[in-house]
């Protein structure tokens, strides 16, 4: 597929996407945001890496990074070198390489992890027997080193082996009293994980964002951001109104942030993951008060004394 044909297809796609009947900007600005810049920057760097691993004798596409003429980046290689041929690198060792056609509409970002990566340029040829043409086409503009790394999607995040947090009950003795507070709580600790994303090492920190308790008696779930506290400071509890045997299920919703090796920037995962914890079965019981002769601790009779 030629670049011109591809571009026309994408243009048609975009015309449909921005058709007024589908979306309006009042909603546009209110929608969840992707980080399209990061997606594009990573794909540019990945394509450069792929091309470098190809056999130069037979490849039909090759890339180079080079500055745009008359564009200053505030650091690194700038402004080009008249002594060099575009795409040939720094052959005279003066720290400068040739620049490509200037396009002042391409912004230069302010980066965290060093000077911006130079724009990516591409050459194509029809077959390996032909020489490379003189023309270099801009594939992607300036980008930041911290952006030229993979994006962790919600699906990636959900694949991580997040440990379900502990679910604690109070009282925790195998039975609770009907119409009395049964307290639930959990541990709000973050989890740090290590994973691999498209060949890049990634640190991930998962933080509990909210908790949903299903008390197993058909009542409405309790949804809270509090991990709960023990009696008498308890703020997450439930009154069982019927006798029976129940289990409590805690569903924890996790937010994530991640940092790709070689960068210092932490990014939020666009999406959440959940874990589930279920208690052991316990009974909801009724106790009636009665007068006894002595302390139950001394004479534990009858059985429910």
């Amino acid at each position: 597929m030629t670049g011109r044909r591809s571009l026309s297809i994408v243009a048609a796609v975009l015309l449909i996407v921005v058709t007024p009947e589908v979306a309006r900007a009042g909603d546009w600005g209110a929608q969840a945001e992707d980080d399209a810049y990061v997606v594009n920057a990573f794909e540019a760097e990945a394509e450069l890496r792929r091309s470098r691993s190809a056999d130069p004798a037979i490849t039909l596409v090759r890339y180079t990074r080079a500055p745009m003429c008359n564009v200053g980046t505030g650091g690194g290689v700038e402004m080009g070198d008249d002594d060099e041929a575009f795409g040939d690198g720094d052959t005279d060792g003066d720290g400068l390489i040739a620049c490509g056609a200037s396009n002042t509409t391409v912004p230069v970002p302010v980066c965290v992890d060093g000077p911006p990566l130079l724009p990516l340029w591409r050459q194509e040829r029809a077959d390996a027997a032909q020489p490379w043409p003189e023309l270099w086409t801009l594939a992607f503009g300036y980008s930041c080193p911290e952006d030229a790394v993979p994006t962790m999607t919600a699906a990636d995040f959900r694949r991580l082996p997040l440990a379900a947090p502990v679910l604690r009950l109070q009282p925790d003795r195998g039975w609770v009293l009907v119409n009395k507070e049964t307290i639930v709580m959990t541990d709000p600790a973050e989890q740090t994980l290590r994973t691999d994303l498209l060949g890049y090492g990634v640190d991930v920190v998962a933080t509990p964002a909210s908790y949903r308790y299903d008390f197993g008696d058909g009542s409405a779930d309790l949804v809270t951001t509090s991990p709960g506290h023990a009696w008498p400071d308890h703020d997450t509890f439930h009154f069982y109104e019927r006798l029976g045997t129940v289990q409590v299920t805690l569903t924890t919703t996790w937010q994530g942030r991640y940092r790709v090796d070689g960068t210092t920037v932490w990014r939020d995962v666009n999406g959440t993951a959940t874990t589930a914890t279920t208690s052991a079965p316990f009974t909801v019981e009724e106790r009636r008060s009665r007068l006894v002769d002595d302390l139950c601790t001394d004479i534990p009779r009858p059985d429910d004394c």
């Binding site: 449909i16 921005v18 992607f140 999406g271």
Partner: protein
């Protein structure tokens, strides 16, 4: 938003496009509330793009102008009002995936209120 029909929009949305799923969820909510949008036409005033990976990935940059709009319920009463036109600078990632072109990511910045 005007027709509450997202069939074409959904067909162009990549599963990982948060903007796309958010928009579809908004429309679903609007349908559930029996509301619809009036106005809000979008005009693309500038568009450029680069082919990041031949035949696989485009970076697209748009400037869009959006007319004022409001939402009405099933009785024709206004329930939401966006009286001001807005301009957005939009960056998109468009990818060829599963034998079709899909919008992978959209980010935007309001450049005027």
């Amino acid at each position: 938003m005007q027709t509450n029909d997202v069939a074409d929009f959904a067909a162009l949305s990549h599963p990982d496009c948060a903007f796309c799923s958010s928009t579809q969820a908004d429309v679903a909510g609007q349908v559930e509330r029996r509301e619809h949008t009036v106005g809000g036409g979008i005009g693309v005033t500038a568009a450029r793009g680069t082919e990041v990976v031949p035949g696989r990935h485009f970076a697209i940059y748009l400037t869009i102008d959006e007319a004022p709009s409001h939402s009405e319920n099933e009785f024709g009463m206004r329930v939401d009002d966006n009286p001001d036109a807005q301009t957005f600078a939009v960056e998109m990632a468009v990818v060829f995936d599963d034998d079709r072109w899909l919008v992978r990511a959209v980010s935007s910045e309001a450049t005027s209120a």
